[in-house]
């Protein structure tokens, strides 16, 4: 019987067997509505609703008029859609000090975020590059202090920085806040860039040195062009981080240059006047809009950013 099998199968392209064989054949039968799938997708769906509901409630509340809010429940869609709360939140809502709405805070945040992002990334990328490719004696010691420093609660360093900024004459100014953001962004960004530049093949760096390129030449002509993705990741990290900051904004700036988060909190939690929930929600949404847009546009890069930052940090 073994012989028969051998001869039969020395032919590689053996055709279909004539022997009819009953019993199961083909793929294992799988029902779309198996118990496993119902539980799996059911759970995911319920959790997704829990995560999405607050966003939904914010949106519908911000589109309702106050009388409708007082009557109905928070989950019901608006009967009459009005954009008035948005206009009011943007242009005329009061913070207790002034009544020109969130627009002021928005522009303050823009003026804080852009230079902070540029400065912090510029410093950290060059620094990470130096740490990865031009190691000098003691560099690792300072880097270790920097990374350990990332775990120190900000509260511990809050007041010494007030003194430093005051000595420099920039306490309470945008410049001061930009500097603070650059300082506190440094650990995570330096780590990010250092790890990235370390992963670049060393031969490339050596070849450039043999070709006569120096520190800045290699940085600008070789490293920078090939590391655009990591710059985007750093940018996402910084834009959301700085835009969402509250503590530094409230400590190191003065009311007329408060960032959007601080102003938002002042508007919503101000004790004066009647609470206008629709305006509050519109204002909250407006403040959350910038990081949300960044998040939804960047998608996988955002995940990569937090993974790169968090896992190694």
């Amino acid at each position: 019987m073994a012989e028969a099998g051998l001869i039969d199968h020395t032919d590689a392209a053996a055709g279909s067997h004539s022997r009819a064989l009953e019993g199961p054949r083909g793929a294992r039968p799988r029902r779309v509505l198996s118990r496993r799938n119902i539980i799996l997708y059911g759970t995911l769906f319920v959790v997704a609703v829990y995560y999405l509901l607050p966003l939904y409630v914010m949106i519908v509340t911000s589109l309702k008029g106050m009388p409708e809010i007082r009557l109905g429940n928070v989950f019901s869609p608006p009967v009459e859609i009005t954009f008035e709360p948005w206009v009011k939140a943007w242009a005329t809502a009061c913070t207790g000090l002034n009544c020109d709405g969130l627009s002021r805070g928005f522009w303050n945040s823009v003026r804080i975020t852009i230079p902070s992002v540029v400065l912090s990334i510029a410093i950290a990328s060059v620094n990470g590059y130096a740490l990865a490719n031009w190691r000098f004696k003691g560099a690792n010691l300072f880097f270790t202090i920097l990374i350990v420093g990332a775990f120190i609660p900000y509260q511990v360093m809050l007041y010494p920085i007030v003194i430093i900024l005051r000595e420099m004459g920039i306490y309470g100014t945008l410049t001061g806040l930009v500097l603070v953001h650059s300082v506190f962004g440094m650990p995570i960004l330096t780590l990010l860039f250092r790890n990235y530049f370390t992963s670049v093949p060393e031969e490339l760096f050596k070849a450039a040195r043999v070709d006569g390129a120096g520190f800045w030449g290699i940085y600008f002509k070789i490293m920078l062009p090939m590391s655009l993705p990591i710059f985007v990741v750093a940018m996402i990290l910084q834009v959301t981080g700085i835009w969402n900051d509250f503590l530094f904004g409230v400590v190191y700036t003065k009311p007329d240059i408060y960032p959007m988060t601080v102003q938002l909190n002042n508007i919503v939690n101000s004790v004066q006047g009647v609470k206008e929930y629709n305006v509050n929600m519109a204002a909250t949404l407006l403040t959350g809009l910038v990081p949300l847009v960044v998040y939804f546009v960047s998608g996988k890069l955002f995940v990569r950013g937090i993974a790169a930052g968090a896992v190694k940090g």
Partner: protein, 362 residues
């Protein structure tokens, strides 16, 4: 009676067909090697047999049972992986026992089986250690042990030696062969890309390419009578010489390539005999002899030495036979240099001739 049978197996991922109408019968106690370069579908086929991949169409029988829809654990198989896949938190003993405990095998029985596996694989002193404390070779022994204690009829090996260095690989190869002798009734299916492993271990080799079996035969047949040009080129190191030319069969069949003429009257043509037309002539480097050794060979010619590659025990010589490249092997002590003209010869009976168009053996 077949131990493992694969019938008309199809596997596709979406539109990509990975395996097509594949048939395979493996005898009880046989050692079958699935050999091929990466991406040929050999590991995929093994995963299908194991039940780790859902097949698209066809049937799989193990020990006469239709297991097409069975879970891997119910198929009566044990499997050994390239990355060992040992459970890192458990001791060696824990690794061997975990599956059995889950199958509610009685405690003494577990003990007995572990003792036997440990003895067979010489891992008794390692039982209390964790995988991280073992060397690569030891880990793979434990992984084999995990398949062994399952007390099954069919062993599946998925490139088990590929993560080991050359020396350990040779050692463990012998050990696997010994194990197969000791477990007489155990069928083994072994996936590898290493032709030495295949040639040394296998009762039969299935050479795969692009999801189909090219040739299924014992190692000697595969080596001496490759079914097609791909198999001939794949098996053997250094690889076979191919010379393109034509076959003339007016009276006695003759292979012609330029000025070279090889009399093929000693060649055993298959099937319908010689069919004139364009062909590829293949002769293995180790079947070509030089100088005195070549005197008695039916075919003789003069060649010019081009490159000499000494490898210790023997030397590989790259030469030109009327413009065609010809590699052959000589003893390591032979003094040769570029430009030498030497006499070589071979027996056309040991050659392989393939149809230039279908690439099938003639």
């Amino acid at each position: 009676m077949a131990s493992v049978s694969v019938r008309n197996l199809d596997l596709s991922f979406g539109d990509v067909k990975v395996l097509q109408n594949l048939n395979l019968d493996i005898e009880k106690g046989e050692f079958l090697v699935l050999l091929g370069s990466s991406g040929c579908g050999k590991s995929t086929l093994l995963n299908c047999i194991a039940g780790l991949l859902d097949i698209t169409d066809g049937q799989i029988f193990i020990s006469e049972h239709n297991v097409t829809w069975e879970q891997p654990k119910d198929r009566g198989i044990g499997m050994v992986f390239q990355s060992y896949a040992l459970y890192p938190q458990m001791t060696v003993e824990g690794n061997l026992a975990f599956g059995l405990k889950n199958a509610r095998v009685p405690r003494d029985e577990i003990k007995k089986r572990i003792a036997r596996a440990a003895q067979l694989l010489h891992i008794e002193p390692l039982l209390k250690r964790k995988p991280a404390q073992l060397s690569g070779g030891q880990r793979q022994r434990v992984a084999i042990g995990r398949a062994l204690v399952r007390d099954v009829d069919v062993f599946l090996f998925d490139e088990p030696l590929s993560n080991l260095d050359a020396k350990l690989r040779a050692e463990l190869r012998v050990e696997i062969k010994r194990l197969h002798h000791e477990l007489e009734n155990t069928t083994m299916i072994y996936v590898t890309h290493d032709q030495i492993e295949a040639m040394t271990l296998a009762d039969r080799i299935a050479i795969m390419r692009a999801g189909a079996i090219q040739q299924l035969a014992d190692p000697a047949t595969i080596y001496n009578k490759p079914y097609n040009k791909y198999v001939a080129g794949f098996i053997g190191s250094p690889s076979i010489n191919f010379i393109d030319g034509t076959l003339e069969a007016a009276s006695d069949p003759v292979f012609k390539a330029g000025e070279t003429k090889v009399d093929l009257s000693r060649y055993a043509f298959s099937g319908n005999g010689p069919k004139p037309g364009p062909v590829t002539f293949g002769i293995r480097p180790e079947h070509i002899f030089m100088d005195k050794a070549a005197v008695d060979e039916p075919f003789r010619a003069n060649v010019e030495v081009d490159v000499v590659e000494p490898m210790g025990a023997d030397t590989l010589v790259w030469s030109k036979l009327n413009g065609h490249e010809l590699r052959f092997r000589v003893d390591g002590q032979t003094p040769l240099k570029k430009g030498d003209r030497v006499k070589v010869g071979f027996d056309p009976a040991r050659a392989s001739i393939f149809d230039a168009e279908t690439e099938m053996r003639l």
